[in-house]
Symmetry: C2
Subunit: 432 residues, 2 copies
């Protein structure tokens, strides 16, 4: 095993340049750990002329990324182009296909690609006897796929959840800390580079949903089912909700959560109330955290940098080192053919306590009409509070454990009442 392990890097944005930088900085240590030299032989990007802050002169250049899959001097393709389809998918499919040049190992940071096409790609990698790894796609630099897929492999996992999108966590914790409104904090985040010019993938919950679908497949041994993730973003969270949450001892977090029930797999990305004095509730800024609950181990939490060039490149090279050492395990921890298609949990069957906020006309009987609508839907009240004396006046309710469909029914009924002046807000209270 002294032959070098040769990388072809597709995509030279900040992450691709980060991979180059680690290989150039830590070459000797990487060789020691891999048991063989780790080298870059070829790179590809759209614009050859761009200055990227790293010296690429020793590497072959390919204008067409898929050509990396045809090079005999590449053992492993590192895909950091991004996107669920298009050139990234074409390259990865080519690399995993046996053919004249042999299949290549693939290491990617592309969560969208895996969330949409993980099953077929995992099957292709297994058939070809090569590794397909995507640690960098979930929770950035935190070795959470390794931690759950290998470190907790002896457990039946019952629940996996976490704060999977740093942009959303930055916005929510900044709103809480600074008292600024959603729009202002989002603009700040864009200025600081924490949010994209088009932030919809992040704040809409799609990015977190990609990661959650991957975590669920790995944790439960199920076929990846991105379409089964119920998604709600943070766009509707107001400063008022954040303040009320705090007042009740909660923080609002965008949680991705997957849980295996007897009747199906629950997967959702939604803003949740979590107790503020917990590792998840206390999580500030762009940090990510993932919690896995196993039947023998109990609860493990993995916390760290969820994005950025250094952390993402760190995760990519961890996968590269495994492949270089000859570790070729199935992409989702078990043979792809054995991954089961879990039924989706019937929508509405999931249950928990809920936080409800109503904006009510300040008139006699308003509270009573709310309470009776909740009662009619079978939702019982844990505590109820009216904030101030405005018109409309905010009324906040913490319910006891209730099914989501009962909450939805109650909320719909209340929204239709004449005393309800704005659309009600319902936020799940999650035990973390």
């Amino acid at each position: 095993m002294t032959a070098p392990f040769r990388l072809g890097i597709a995509g030279l944005g900040t992450v691709g340049a980060g991979v180059v930088r680690i290989v150039q900085t830590h070459g000797a240590a990487l060789a020691e750990k891999a048991g063989r030299p780790v080298e870059i032989t070829a790179v590809s990007a759209r614009n050859r002329g761009l200055e990227r802050g790293v010296d690429l002169s020793a590497y072959a250049w390919e204008d067409d990324a898929t050509r990396l899959a045809h090079r005999d001097d590449v053992d492993c393709v590192v895909e950091v182009i991004g996107g669920s389809d298009g050139p990234a998918k074409a390259l990865v499919e080519k690399a995993l296909a046996p053919g004249e040049h042999g299949a290549k190992h693939v290491v990617t940071a592309n969560k969208a690609l895996i969330a949409h096409h993980g099953q077929e790609l995992a099957e292709a990698a297994e058939a070809a006897g090569v590794a397909l790894r995507f640690e960098a796609g979930v929770a950035g630099g935190i070795p959470v796929l390794k931690g759950i897929g290998e470190g907790l492999a002896a457990n039946a996992i019952s629940r996996v959840f976490g704060v999977l999108n740093g942009t959303c966590n930055y916005i929510l914790s900044e709103m809480e800390a600074s008292g600024s409104d959603y729009r202002d904090v989002l603009a700040d985040a864009q200025r600081l580079g924490y949010a994209e010019a088009d932030p919809s993938l992040d704040v809409g919950g799609i990015d977190a949903a990609h990661k959650l679908a991957i975590l669920a497949a790995l944790a439960f041994g199920t076929r990846i089912d991105f379409g089964g993730v119920v998604i709600e973003g943070i766009e509707r969270i107001t400063l008022a909700d954040i303040r009320t949450a705090r007042d009740m001892g909660f923080s609002i977090k965008l949680l991705g959560l997957a849980r295996m029930h007897d009747t199906g797999l629950e997967q959702r990305v939604r803003p949740c109330m979590v107790p503020e004095k917990t590792p998840i509730g206390a999580l500030q800024g762009v940090t990510n955290a993932v919690v896995a609950e196993g039947d023998f181990v109990g609860k493990c939490i993995f916390t760290g940098p969820g994005a950025g060039a250094g952390p993402t490149a760190s995760a990519i090279l961890a996968d590269v080192l495994d492949a270089a050492r000859g570790v070729v395990s199935p992409a989702f921890g078990r043979p792809a053919a054995g991954l089961t298609a879990a039924p989706r949990l019937q929508h509405g069957a999931e249950h928990s306590p809920y936080y409800l906020r109503f904006m009510l006309a300040d008139r006699p009987g308003a509270l009573a009409s709310i309470a009776s609508a909740l009662g009619a839907a079978g939702v019982s009240i844990h505590r109820m509070r009216q904030y101030g004396k405005g018109d409309p006046v905010p009324v906040v309710i913490e319910t006891h454990d209730a099914r989501r469909d009962a909450i939805d029914a109650a909320v719909d009924a209340i929204a239709a009442l004449p005393v309800s002046m704005e659309p009600p807000v319902a936020i799940r209270i999650e035990e973390v």
Copy 2:
């Protein structure tokens, strides 16, 4: 790879029985993940007649644990006897030795054995081409050796630290929560099974030091050096210190910390003050947490159950699954011959802010004599507070960053003053 991977288990206490239970409960899933069946063929313990709550009738019995190393139907010895020498060491050495029956893989939870003999054992395993793994020895069920050794392998680690002993953390957080004294909480911990009848390995810091030495070797690529760990336990921590700490925004934690300096490797287990609103400061009860700082990834935190049958067995089986899949990497992540013997950091050269507590006679000039002794030693004061009006009266000082030897000199000088009525306390304030 469809031949079964056959385990011989040495030691059938709660952890050994936990390993049996996982294999019996999750056999099908383990086989799927390992790519081959994982079976127990033989077991050994001192007392065959003991009821252990698991059915051992299908396994061969060995009265002498070292006989497991001679069995042709054992591929991997699981050592959960414990102890740095004696039967555990004899068994592991036999198992790793090539011979008539071939070397066996070894998976152990024995931190003392690895802390004292890790280098020789790692060399023996490599020479024989078998795995030597000890995830269960550090931080129980948390996959932290895998996380740091593999998941963060692309980084130069600058610092690794954490709460490595659940018994101590239970005692300290209970003292803080209940306001009970050290002796009372220790007695409770013993009643609850969180502390041994002889608690000295735990509260004296030895157990945490074993784990720290292993973490340091893995993180820095150095030869394990248990003798180089500076150790101080929690026996001298008083309720007064805990209350003052809280008053100043700190929690007292027994931290194991290793840091690579230009001039040598610092390794210490010592009570430290840490900001209470950090993941380490907020850690309650028997939970462990390990923090690693890498040059590319930044800071990752691994939190979870640090002890107990289920978590420890979970970690053992993670190692077993790797070995069953054919993963045979060097025990400390790089070839044992290449591990460097780092010089020990000169004692006293480490620096940080400190918390100092003095019990002073209530007489004019007492404070001034303290302040001038600190000044003479080159230690400058960040804030100073006198608690109440007793005699002796507690005086608490938070210093600016100072070298340990300067603090020691100042404390010695002050202890010798006539106004000093009790031995002073110095606790390092750690940035976590």
